[in-house]
């Protein structure tokens, strides 16, 4: 009976993880295409379609980040599938809150915050691997957007010097073509870093369930399903976030767009190689601000940028608190599958109510 219950929880965890991955694509990937759309390099439908395909492909090119999430953030020996479930619900809830208010946050940090919060609620602070959390998540999280800011700023400074006296029409057309490459690389980078977090969490749940040994790599079905979920999420929308990143932070030209995307792709791909779970939201916004500030500091709308930074700072603790609260609710119903089932039903009901309210108001829920 206990084994059946554990299997049910595992199925719920995998479904929730894939749903989270879908919301990650829905919420985050808009940041990837915003720059191309804002500069006129690609039509929204083309940019989103291409980003979906490249997200799917990107998920297959590395598993370093998945290994970090599965083995280096929380102690797999004390984790249960229910803890992973609670963390996922916390992360998804925070993603939807920031989506509702049109604020870019970080799905990655929401996920890690959610899992850390539920693990602490279940097993205490010793369940958290401080070395991995600080060395592989927190420090790269602070450095990555700053690095993207500096790289984009340096890149655009050099670019303006090189192309300074050429005819603007030729330059704009050329960089718009270039954005097909830089935007594609950014989408590939997003796919490889973000989809791996879901792979890592599912792998963690499989290890906790006993289906995989400690330190195992994600199986192919986990990689393929995570790739498909993030690609579908990307294709489904995220238009509110596009509006914030693409036009409200800074009005960009094609040179700035190329530099921001190139900086973002370089930082994410290099970080992915070393297994750092980053957020494209952090990195691309750092790149966008760097590209803007290098041209003219006053071109950046620092008030909007400040709101975004606030959302970033809140993400880890907010998702952790929600994850811990969800774990507490599941435990009210015991250690079996009943708690996760009830929380799932409650979450789905709440989601349906939120989407119905939005539909009644006439605002678009998603644009495909």
């Amino acid at each position: 009976m206990r084994a059946v219950s554990s299997d049910v929880v595992l199925v719920i965890v995998v479904a929730t993880a894939l749903a989270f991955d879908f919301t990650n694509g829905f919420h985050d990937t808009a940041n990837v295409v915003a720059t191309s759309i804002s500069t006129g390099a690609a039509a929204p439908s083309v940019a989103i379609g291409a980003a979906s395909l490249l997200n799917f492909a990107g998920a297959f090119i590395s598993i370093s980040v998945a290994a970090t999430v599965a083995n280096d953030v929380v102690d797999a020996a004390v984790i249960t599938p229910t803890i992973v479930f609670a963390g996922l619900v916390g992360a998804t809830a925070w993603n939807l809150v920031t989506w509702w208010f049109g604020l870019p946050s970080s799905s990655s940090h929401a996920l890690i915050g959610g899992v850390v919060g539920s693990a602490v609620a279940a097993a205490g602070f010793h369940a958290v691997l401080a070395e991995g959390l600080v060395g592989k998540v927190l420090i790269p999280a602070i450095l990555a957007p700053l690095l993207a800011f500096v790289v984009a700023g340096a890149a655009i400074g050099a670019s303006y010097r090189i192309i300074g006296r050429q005819r603007p029409g030729v330059v704009t057309r050329g960089y718009r073509y270039g954005q097909l490459i830089s935007g594609g690389l950014l989408a590939l980078a997003h796919g490889t870093n973000d989809a791996q977090k879901t792979m890592g969490v599912i792998t963690l749940a499989l290890i906790a369930h006993g289906s995989l040994g400690a330190g195992a790599d994600p199986p192919l079905w986990v990689i393929a399903s995570s790739a498909a979920a993030i690609a579908l999420g990307t294709y489904s929308g995220g238009w509110r976030i596009i509006k914030t990143t693409g036009t409200r932070i800074i009005k960009m030209d094609a040179v700035q767009g190329f530099s921001a995307q190139g900086a973002g792709a370089a930082v994410i791909l290099a970080s992915t190689h070393f297994g750092y779970p980053l957020s494209t939201t952090h990195v691309i916004n750092g790149g966008v601000m760097g590209a803007g500030a290098a041209k003219r500091v006053s071109a950046v709308r620092w008030g909007v940028a400040g709101n975004i930074v606030t959302a970033w700072v809140l993400t880890l603790p907010a998702a952790a608190l929600i994850g811990a609260a969800v774990y507490g609710i599941t435990r009210i119903f015991g250690t079996g599958a009943l708690g996760p089932l009830i929380v799932t039903l409650m979450s789905l009901s709440l989601l349906a109510a939120v989407f119905a309210r939005r539909a009644r108001r006439g605002a678009p829920v998603a644009v495909s």
């Binding site: 690095l147 670019s159 192309i163 050329g174 270039g178």
Partner: protein, 79 residues
């Protein structure tokens, strides 16, 4: 304390790779644009020699961009 829990070697390599790739590819692509624009202008001015040099710079820079992208993806897939 921080020194023991952070792998600074990996972190510094990440920073170096990001700067080299991010700035390098953007600069190389800028030379593609510069070379193409100069080639068109110089050809219109009927100066085939300098136009050829501009085109060669543009082609070389395009090769650097392409090789940089391919190298990056290969490095990603081989760890």
């Amino acid at each position: 304390m921080t020194a023991t829990i952070v792998d600074w070697s990996d972190l510094l390599q990440t920073i170096a790779a990001s700067i080299v790739a991010g700035v390098g590819i953007t600069v190389a692509f800028s030379f593609v644009i510069w070379g193409t624009a100069r080639f068109a202008d110089l050809r219109r001015e009927d100066r085939p020699g300098p136009a050829g040099v501009a085109l060669a710079i543009s082609g070389l820079a395009a090769a650097v961009v392409a090789l940089g992208v391919v190298f990056g993806v290969i490095v990603m897939t081989t760890k």
